[in-house]
Amino acid sequence: MTTRIQSEAFDVGVEVEAFTAAQAGAGAVVSFTGIVRDVAGGLRWMELEHYPGMTEAAAEAMRQEALTRFSLTGALVIHRYGRLPPGAPIMMVATAAPHRGDAFAAAEFLMDWLKSRAPFWKKEVTETGESWVDATDADEEALGRWS
């Protein structure tokens, strides 16, 4: 399974190691890990809501699109939902390719799409209340470079 949507924590090192070991013919492996940040201070946790069924299908479709668009030997997507404390990995992607350009581009492509098109919604729960995180124009605009 190379697209996983899960509430359980995952171990970045274990995932990168296993992914890398499985890539025959790759000269380049790129991994990206997104981590819960306490930007303003006082963050108790981040609550990630998702759309069961659609989330898995959308993330897998993006992974397949990356495999089609770039010359890769493999790609991995892991994304958590539920309650995530500051410092916890939220998600990761890993890409492997014969050449580094494809591996980097595919990882950025997957991140840009997952940010704005995978059905996840983040809510920040702080000591003083809770609020939904707004989508940013920058994340939306990042998609433009792949069209």
Partner: protein, 81 residues
Amino acid sequence: MNVRYFAWLRERIGAASEEIETGAPTVGALVDELRARGEGHASAFADTRALRVAVDQQLASFDAPLAGVREVAFFPPMTGG
């Protein structure tokens, strides 16, 4: 038809999903019907430019047809990653 809500839409409407009998030909027509269901709905759907919609779990537009559709979901712009 199963209508689902996520994030602040779900909170404003006070339900994660509703089973709805409708003859609405498009998503937009369905939104007009939903707005009439009460204050929560009216508030949630006040500005559809701030919303996204999925029809049978595929992102769609508000003029998408609903014939044969089993599930429609409304939500704010996604913030994954």
